[in-house]
């Protein structure tokens, strides 16, 4: 998949060509809106948040070959850590950026802790443990009502600030650029890892764990690093998404469906490819958060109400679309839209 560092004789650039084009296009999107009134830069912020989650999951699933089915739990951990440390109803109120950093660290530690018992076991066990963890984090957040406000969710959350400027909720474009910047930073940092000794260890463990071990690579450390990085990034994504809607939402929002949405992002976009993940986020979240609601609205305007029948609400086809995306991609294009091999230069 990644023939990464060695294919170039000089060190790999900060971004691949595909990534440059992609980020260029994303940067141009709001400018385009100045001319045409599309109104999509606001919902596209969700795409950017999920793209960060996707990059995190890609480190675990794509680079290290570990199937992680509970990434939503780390989004929840990130969102709640961020909320408790910043929300005005709690005493801490450490502010947006320190809160984001804390979410990253707490998520990473939680990710490493969770993986620890399964590192020496067959891969499927990690899948089932992460899946179970995804479920019980929701339970924990619901049950510790005193701390997490139970099913109410925590709000309001602080809006970001950047060089003295605070962002108001009616300026989606400035949020958009900020989130794009964070996504860019995540992409570059993970790309650095990908093209380094750490990335090589991840790939080696993915390709053949036993051979890697016979080359003195300690698979438990390698996997722990990957799980921590993945969970940390997912937590950042969760915190950003929560900040976007100024609420953590209820714990039940971070359910298996969200984990699978993240998995779809990685698999549809191109497993093991950073460019692919961002493309996957555009496709999947674009469908989930932009296209389906829009379609539902149009249907309702056309007089075909969503309340009359379960079959006419586009939202009810979500599971089917996710499921078909996974099955068909595996069958016909297992490497995804952007295959990792073509991605690099």
């Amino acid at each position: 998949m990644s023939q990464s560092p060695s294919t170039v004789h000089r060190p790999a650039g900060l971004l691949s060509r595909g990534q440059c084009i992609l980020f260029g296009a994303l940067l141009a999107l709001p400018l385009l809106e100045l001319v045409f009134d599309l109104g999509i830069s606001a919902p596209t912020r969700f795409v950017l948040g999920f793209a960060i989650v996707g990059i995190g999951l890609n480190v675990v699933v794509g680079f290290t070959g570990l199937l992680h089915l509970g990434i939503a739990a780390f989004m929840a951990i990130g969102a709640y850590a961020f909320a408790i440390l910043t929300c005005t109803i709690y005493p801490f109120q450490i502010g947006f950026w320190p809160g984001l950093l804390a979410a990253l660290l707490i998520g990473a530690v939680a990710g490493a802790f969770l993986g620890a018992p399964t590192l020496r076991l067959r891969g499927d066990y990690l899948a089932i443990v992460t899946l179970g963890f995804g479920e019980i984090v929701q339970d924990l957040l619901k049950n510790l009502e005193l701390i997490t406000k139970g099913t109410q969710g925590i709000n309001p959350l602080p809006t970001p600030w950047f060089f003295g400027a605070t962002f108001a909720s009616d300026t989606p474009k400035s949020w958009y650029f900020l989130y794009l910047g964070i996504l860019l930073a995540c992409t570059m940092l993970v790309r650095n890892l990908e093209h380094s000794r750490i990335g090589r260890q991840w790939f080696a463990v993915r390709e053949d764990e036993l051979a890697a071990r016979c080359m003195a690579i300690r698979p438990d450390r390698v996997k722990l690093t990957a799980l921590a990085v993945g969970a940390g990034l997912a937590a950042v994504g969760g915190a950003l998404l929560a900040s976007l809607i100024s609420s953590t939402g209820e714990p039940g929002n971070y359910d298996f469906q969200i984990s699978i949405l993240a998995l779809c992002i990685v698999i549809v976009g191109g497993i093991g490819s950073l460019t692919g993940v961002i493309v996957g986020a555009l496709v999947m979240v674009g469908m989930n958060s932009i296209l389906l609601p829009m379609l539902g609205q149009k249907l309702q305007q056309a007089g075909i109400g969503t309340t009359t029948s379960v079959y006419l609400a586009p939202d009810n086809y979500k599971y089917l679309l996710f499921g078909l995306a996974l099955v068909l991609m595996m069958r016909f294009k297992p490497k995804g839209i952007v295959a990792a091999k073509e991605e690099d230069h």
Partner: protein, 343 residues
Amino acid sequence: MSAVPIIEVDGVTMRFGGLVAVNDVSLMVDQGSITAVIGPNGAGKTTLFNAITGVYDPSAGRVLIAGKETVVPLDAKAWWSFAVFGISSAFLAAVFLHAEGLWLHAVTENYEYLKPFPWMKGIMDAAAYVIAHGGWAALVGGILGAAGRFAIWSRTRRTPEIVAESGVARTFQNIRLFPELSLAENVMVGMDRRMRAGFCASLLRLPSASLERRHAREEAARLIEFVGLGTKIDALARSLPYGHQRRLEIARALASRPSVVLLDEPAAGMNPTETVELMELIRRIQSTRTTVVLIEHHMRVVMGISEKIAVLDHGEKIAQGNPTEIRNDPRCIEAYLGKEDLG
């Protein structure tokens, strides 16, 4: 050269259920030598290799590398890790089981509206609360944590990575390269043992990491050249023909600068020309003061380059000696050709 054998196999037995794959085999490999392990199919040669390299844990007996047993000792470091896991899980259990009380006591009670949170006092109160109330939870959590760490530790006392760390590298009978990585990267994985770049250096692409990577790449190119794979170091490993894959595996093994390298049927599937090149390569490896142990069926290779040969049959060592001795040993001839051929 020192008198300590680089590998000493001492009465190793490997049992799988009822099957005894290797039965009480002892073997000495001298430093700097080329030793061959031969025997008919199913004699237990690869199983012996697996036992030496830590892939399998011997059912009985032990393996010494350079006179030392490659087992994680029950030393201060091990005790320390049990203690760390025990204490941290005790802490986690105490905090989680009393989360709400802790929150009330340390956070809610210390909070005054519009005043910054008194972090020090909060932490002290939290600690006091955990000490006062978390006793049972901490005890149970601590015991489970320490015992869990011990359980995992005792399952992984002798693993391939620990043996590899002590300077043993190997190749595999059914080639196990990293197919989707390039030639250079495959070899660089081999060098990982000697690399030092850490997480932060890699994340931020610090000059130290970049420099190390560049050197590693140059060395990888040299090694690939050394095993005769030319200069196409950026092709994917899976694109190589079979014989070349075997050589790349050897390059990967050599990349860790091992003191001994174990080759499992390196000549399998090679044509006569390649076989001759391989013999040449093995001699060159020996000339870099690396000990070579190989499993091989090609008698020309075995007889041509080995200094010492051990013969396995049905999991037992039936003979050992230099090529001439083995060639004339009746038991070996019997094992290879069958009894009736003797007559």
